[in-house]
Amino acid sequence: MDLERRFDVLVVGAGPAGLAAAAAAECGRSVGLADENPAPGGQIWRGESLAPTPSTFLGGVRVFAQPRAGALWAEAPEGRMVLLYDQLILAPGARERFLPFPGWTLPNVTGAGGLQALVKSGLSVAGKAVVVAGSGPLLLAVAGFLLKNGAVVRLIAEQALLRRVARFGLGLARSPGKFVQATGLLRAMRGVPYRPGCWPAAALGEGRLHAVTLTDGSDRRDVPCDFLACGFGLVPNTELPRLLGCLTRDGVVTVDDWQQTTVPDVFCVGEATGVGGLDKSLVEGRIAGYAAGGRPDAARRWFPARDRARRFASSLARAFALRAELKRLPHPETLVCRCEDVTYARLLACDSPRAAKLQTRCGMGPCQGRICGPAVGFLRGWPADTVRPPSVPVRLGSLAAEVQPHTACGRT
């Protein structure tokens, strides 16, 4: 039995962008807000109590296919759900970029945002030694958060060059809000070394992490720790927009002035249109919400703020561009695809993503290439592969009602 829900405006993704979109769309319209997490807030507001919105929140709901225009199939705790809409706003957010290096599959090597999410979900890091590594402003936010929660942050290793990070920091002075935020973060970091031009070369341990080897390209040193919180920036989640046929370019969803994608009545907002942080997500959400709700004048008022947010996004991308040395981190025996345990050596023997899939099953496990895909893209220059339904692993029962003989179900 399908559960059917109908909305004038359906928002998928309840992070800041989706919440802003839902709030702006509410004007005599029925608005549904669906998210695969049990509670709204996305990653940045995870576990926080949010102001109530009149929209209907559907938690624990994973969209996995589109049977026809105006409808989505989702897996909900109660079973398969059919979501019907006139206008659809996608706010799928971003995930962390993970790059393979020897030992990165050891337990207690987590994402930077990953460890933060786990702490927000009830994990205590009091007294635990943590090395924060990778790239981007998220590292500072995570380190500050971990300190506040009693962790001993040994150091922050930022792969980007000092002069680029410094230029980015100075650029923040042009937007006072961000400058105050950044100086606040740095103040909270007192005593924690921040090392630009430094990255993890290996995670060490037997069965679990004991230390991380850090390098600046010439010197290496081992730092003992309980956790390595490591993420190399963010990757826009474009799987759902692409499943719906939305055009992407350079890894981000193409949108017009109203945040509408190349598919009519389907909008996209937030990190999926380009990683830019909270301000960009909020302003794009508002614009799409107003536009989908039939209030273009209200939307237009936010165009200048969006221009500013997009300029910030470009400077972010320039400052924290990944250095070429990171491509030499994996050894031949280092696993690249964690789901299918595919080594780098086996990938090097393939000349295309398709060959890699067929010969090694790289990207065909439960995560459907969400972790190894961006890593392989960086290491080998391969573009993202096509998305086919189901876009996430689902129970057979969710497909059973209308399963076609040729509909392949990913192994889970």
Binding site: P107, T110, R208, R370
Partner: protein, 83 residues
């Protein structure tokens, strides 16, 4: 004092605060590996947000439940010996 939630992890009782996810509960109670990989490596939570599937565990007999997306509930039986 808020009530605690009691779950069983591989037969051992683990007490957590309400609102704790399985992934956080397991890591916090010293269970570092939530599953074994294809080649037998121990794996633990990575992304914390339902993307990587490394924290999948068996909950009350149902395999492949994402530990980071599942809140602990009294009496849950969790197993970490799955693939």
């Amino acid at each position: 004092v808020p009530e605690t939630v009691a779950i069983r992890v591989d037969g051992r009782e683990v007490l957590v605060m309400p609102g704790t996810t399985l992934a956080a509960a397991l890591l916090g109670s010293g269970v570092v590996a939530t599953r074994r990989s294809l080649t037998g490596e121990p794996r633990g939570p990575v992304c914390g947000m339902g993307v990587c599937f490394e924290c999948r565990v068996t909950v009350d007999g149902a395999p492949h439940r994402l530990g980071c997306q599942t809140f602990c509930a009294d009496g849950m039986e969790v197993r970490t010996d799955g693939p």
